[in-house]
């Protein structure tokens, strides 16, 4: 309906292969970025920034990581939380050993540790597929979580067994630790997530992304195109884990402030998998949708009784939240097994051909 594609013709392959080839999409994206970078920091309250947006963005980044692996390369993983934990602990160790180096550097570097660990646990993918592979990643999940508990060097032998984020600054402004304001934390997270999303988008639209999808769709044919399965799969594990690792580091440093090993338990893996499935396998924007639905929906449900003036016990609300999320997962799978991204795509297509139905 809002699309005016008549007259938008491409005179070069670069323009034709652009990630947003339609002008109206580019405008829409610009508006969203403007709201995200200017509108929300200006008008958002602390709750919105610290409890809604920051976790949403971080979870979306983790979901992108998982989506690269599961959605694009077709490799099911249940170890996402473990790889996030690797990132978190790596960032913690690095920043406490080398406090003089900027924390953002370490957060990004932590991704490499996660990538290395991810690649190691991806090795079995040379021989096994599907649910069988999920068990391999499950091994990663439980093994890594066990490491976080038992290997006290990782948390600097803190009595609590938890890692606590040191205060760090960027250009003199506190971005981690108790003194960092939600706005700064939000902006830092947003910037990292936007840049990494862009990079992910570049990767999946290029040769590597196509190789992943080829392996996902028909691995035999992919081999006969000259694609070597193991390197491609390992790269998917590494890149995916890099994203998860950075998300894990951000989670501890810019969202939670401190974390116990339990923060990276199997439930987080499942939550991220929900996000990816509900959001849409093989879709970056779907990762955002999934993260929004799974993270923001419970918050909304929790706030709903207050907003309606009902007095319902906190525990009951919690149980209801569980039930509603569960029911919604089933509902969305029934309505659109390909996730919100597909709904979005269908909606967009409908708008493009409006008023026609198809």
């Amino acid at each position: 309906m809002f699309y005016r594609e008549a007259g938008q013709f491409k005179q070069s392959y670069a323009a034709d292969q652009a990630i947003f080839p339609i002008r109206q999409d580019r405008i829409g994206l610009a508006v969203i970025l403007l709201i995200a970078f200017v509108g929300i920091p200006l008008f958002g309250n602390e709750f919105l920034l610290a409890s809604v947006m920051v976790p949403f963005l971080i979870l979306a980044l983790g979901a992108i990581g998982l989506n690269l692996l599961t959605g694009y390369a077709g490799l099911l993983s249940l170890g996402t939380a473990g790889f996030m934990g690797v990132g978190a602990y790596a960032a913690y160790k690095l920043s406490t050993i080398f406090p003089e180096v900027n924390i953002l550097v370490w957060i990004l570097c932590s991704g490499f540790f996660a990538a290395a660990v991810g690649a190691v646990f991806g090795l079995p993918s040379s021989r096994i597929k599907g649910f069988y592979l999920a068990v391999a990643t499950l091994a990663a999940q439980f093994f890594l979580q066990w490491c976080f508990v038992r290997w006290s060097w990782l948390y600097n032998d803190n009595a609590s067994g938890a890692i606590e984020v040191p205060a760090r600054t960027l250009f003199g402004i506190a971005i981690t630790g108790p003194s960092a304001t939600p706005v700064t934390r939000y902006l830092v997270v947003l910037t990292i997530v936007v840049v990494m999303t862009l990079i992910a988008s570049n990767i999946v639209h290029g040769r590597i992304g196509r190789s992943w999808m080829a392996v996902r769709d028909m691995d035999i044919a992919a081999q006969l195109m000259g694609i070597r399965l193991l390197p491609v799969k390992l790269l998917a594990f590494a890149v995916s884990s890099f994203y998860c690792g950075v998300a894990g580091a951000l989670m501890v440093f810019l969202w939670l402030g401190a974390a116990e090993p339990a923060a990276f338990d199997i439930n987080l893996s499942f939550v991220l998998l929900f996000m990816v499935i509900i959001g849409g396998l093989g879709s970056l924007i779907g990762s955002f949708f999934g993260a929004a639905l799974i993270h923001i929906l419970p918050i909304a449900i929790r706030m709903l009784p207050d907003a309606l003036g009902l007095s319902i016990g906190a525990a009951t609300v919690e149980h209801l939240t569980f039930m509603i999320v569960g029911a919604l997962i089933i509902f969305f799978l029934v309505v659109e097994p390909h996730g919100l991204a597909r709904l979005w795509q269908i909606g967009k297509q409908k708008l493009r051909v409006w008023p026609f139905p198809y």
């Binding site: 008549a6 007259g7 013709f9 392959y13 026609f356």
Partner: protein, 657 residues
């Protein structure tokens, strides 16, 4: 504007090209979707290419006055072939790309072509297959090399290499460059610019000779009339050999300096139209009709809510749209409602159809249904009608903005004189009018009056607003046995406005009453059948289905009601009709290449059916020879049902009158 003054006096297309290259060297002149993207050439590039091409052609032996056939789809290289030929003073002769070998051989021979520039392997094969019948043909040029690698290249050349060769020659030899430019400058207004073969409704095609000066003068008038300029853009999808394409896309572009875009292939033309979003558009009524049918069908699949919204706003547009477009006063409520409709329906719809940027759109060639016409206009599409002929170099009349009506074709365009002969035939004299038919002085004389007017062969009259109204072909307007006026085309057009009816052929000359043959529109009727669970295995079965007969019978009855309300036509109501078991097809000679019915031919071919229409029987057998798509022939036999149609009583006094 002072800069363009030069354009006004230039008298050949090659000169115009060079002038544009000087005035607006970096503006886009041509686009072609090729290999997935729109390749664009600026005026400077086109001029440079054409100049080199001309040099290359000259080296191959193309001389002033020689004829060069142009065969293929709309491709920049073929337009350049026209330009390069004209540059050298040679005469381009475009030939319909879908012409069968026989037809092609006739035209090539008649025009005495020595060169042929064709699109691809398919056309090369066709030309080579008739080469023996065309002894003068010495050089064949082609654009797309695919599949031609192993062909004997002694007289076959790739256009690209001819251009490259020309470029080399020009670079190597300054004298040659000067000579080539000299060839261009030697051209003048009286040169034969092009010979367009018309697929006449009867007999063999005639070669219409147009002069350079006349062509340009005509184009100049309409460019001014519609204020076309360098910012405009068109999609060239009409047949290259048709006067419409040569006028609208070629002549007007070279006069106004706008950009011509060529689609990637026939299958992608619709999509390419949306991508380009032209600002000037021409389509014959049948295209608009097919489009509306598709719009309607696609909307039927929409959800109930959307469908109702669509219908509501189409209603709004019918009420206010044309008034707003015509600049009449409209109440605020209407304007608001229309604005909302534009937001929700019209603008998106135009976008999907690729009409968003259209400033001026024309339709011509046949009468357009009033509903159809106003549908597009009420959406805010500035659709107008023109009336023209190959012999006039298209325009005779055209509707100026603000004076648009569905049933007329507008007043004469500037510099055209029109008069109606005593027999009711429309005669005109125009700046672009042709010099004569090539090698056919007899027929040239037939259509020219002594004072230089040209007979259109159409019957018409001026209405009270001074707009021309065309009734029918002059020779086709006849009388029934009773002496009542019988205008078959008028009746046919009334029938064809129903989306279910694709073609209609009316009979009645010298008979007691009017009958007609109908062709169903397979898309519309097929869709209807699907929705009503009517199974059918073939076109023939669907056409002969009793419920289809009933439905079309209602259309005929309604058309009769319309005829009854018009004093002149009331006696020519349709008494009986039948639905043909096959589609009328140009390959079978039943229609012209421009999709006009050949009434005489049909009357002969389907004589048993016509006899049955008049002898009261309720069915008749018919066997006809048909040509399949691949050129094979076969015999199609069928039993065709004949039905009676409801007619309106005619007041006795009228009958007496």
């Amino acid at each position: 504007m002072a800069q363009t003054s030069d354009l006004v006096r230039l008298d050949t297309f090659a000169k115009l090209l060079c002038e544009h290259a000087r005035l607006r060297p970096d503006r886009a002149a041509m686009r072609h979707k090729d290999f997935g993207i729109w390749r664009t050439w600026t005026w400077r590039e086109v001029a440079e290419n054409v100049r080199a091409y001309a040099a290359g052609l000259q080296a191959l032996g193309l001389t002033r006055g020689a004829k060069i056939a142009i065969i293929g789809a709309n491709r920049p290289a073929l337009y350049w072939s026209i330009l390069a030929a004209q540059w050298l003073g040679a005469v381009p002769v475009p030939v319909y790309a879908d012409a069968v070998a026989d037809e092609m051989a006739y035209v090539l021979n008649h025009a005495e072509v020595t060169f042929a520039a064709v699109q691809d392997q398919e056309q090369v094969d066709k030309v080579l297959s008739v080469a023996e019948q065309v002894p003068l043909l010495s050089v064949v040029l082609y654009d797309e090399p695919r599949g031609l690698r192993d062909y004997d290249h002694t007289r076959l050349h790739r256009i690209e290499s001819v251009i490259d060769n020309g470029r080399k020659l020009l670079a190597a030899d300054a004298a040659l460059a000067a000579a080539i430019d000299g060839e261009r400058d030697r051209g003048g207004a009286d040169d034969v610019s092009i010979i367009l073969y018309t697929s006449g409704t009867t007999g063999r095609s005639k070669g219409v000779i147009l002069s350079a000066g006349g062509s340009i003068a005509a184009a100049r008038d309409t460019v001014g009339f519609d204020k076309l300029g360098e910012r405009d853009e068109v999609l060239a999808y009409l047949p290259l050999a048709w006067v419409g394409d040569h006028y609208l896309n070629y002549a007007q572009a070279l006069v106004a300096g706008f950009c011509v875009a060529c689609p990637e292939s026939i299958e992608t033309a619709e999509n390419d139209l949306q991508e380009i979003g032209p600002s000037f558009y021409f389509a014959p009524p049948r295209v608009f009709e097919a489009l509306l049918t598709r719009v309607t069908i696609r909307m039927e699949d929409a959800g109930a809510l959307k469908r109702r919204m669509f219908q509501y706003f189409i209603g709004v547009s019918r009420r206010w749209g044309e008034k707003i477009l015509n600049g009449e006063s409209v109440p605020l409520g209407g304007r608001l409602n229309y604005w909302l409709g534009n937001l929700l329906v019209y603008a998106p719809l135009k976008n999907v159809l690729g009409f968003s940027r259209i400033r001026v759109a024309y339709t011509a060639g046949e009468a357009i249904g009033p509903d159809l016409f106003s549908f597009y206009r009420s959406l805010g599409l500035n659709l107008k009608q023109l009336y023209g002929q190959t012999e006039a170099f298209l325009y005779v009349t055209a509707q100026p903005d603000g004076q648009i009506r569905a049933d007329t074709v507008g007043p004469a365009v500037p510099n055209v004189d029109i008069r109606i002969s005593e027999s009711g035939e429309v005669l005109y004299r125009s700046p672009g009018q042709f010099i004569g038919y090539y090698k056919d002085t007899e027929r040239t004389a037939e259509v020219m009056t002594e004072d230089g007017f040209i007979k259109t062969g159409d019957a018409g009259f001026f209405d009270e607003d001074g707009q021309l109204k065309i009734i029918d072909r002059a020779k086709d307007v006849g009388r029934l046995g009773s002496g009542a006026l019988f205008a078959p085309k008028y009746i046919e057009n009334k029938l064809k406005f129903y989306p279910n009816i694709k073609e209609a052929v009316a009979f009645g000359q010298g008979r007691d009453f009017v009958t007609c043959m109908l062709n169903i529109d397979l898309t519309a009727v097929g869709n209807w059948a699907e929705r009503n669970n009517i199974p059918y295995a073939s076109y023939q079965e669907l056409a002969q289905h009793p419920r289809v007969y009933r439905m079309l019978g209602e259309h005929v009855a309604e058309a009769n009601r319309g005829l009854a309300s018009e004093p002149l036509m009331a006696n020519a109501q349709i008494r009986r009709f039948l639905i043909l078991h096959k589609e009328l097809d140009a390959d079978d000679g039943e229609m012209t290449r421009t999709q006009k019915v050949r009434r005489g031919f049909i009357a002969e071919r389907y004589k048993p059916l016509i006899d049955a229409l008049y002898d009261g029987s309720d069915a008749a057998d018919i066997a006809t020879e048909v040509t399949f798509e691949d050129g094979r022939k076969g015999v199609l036999a069928a039993r065709v049902r004949i039905a009676d149609a409801a007619t309106q009583p005619v007041a006795a006094e009228r009958v007496a009158a």
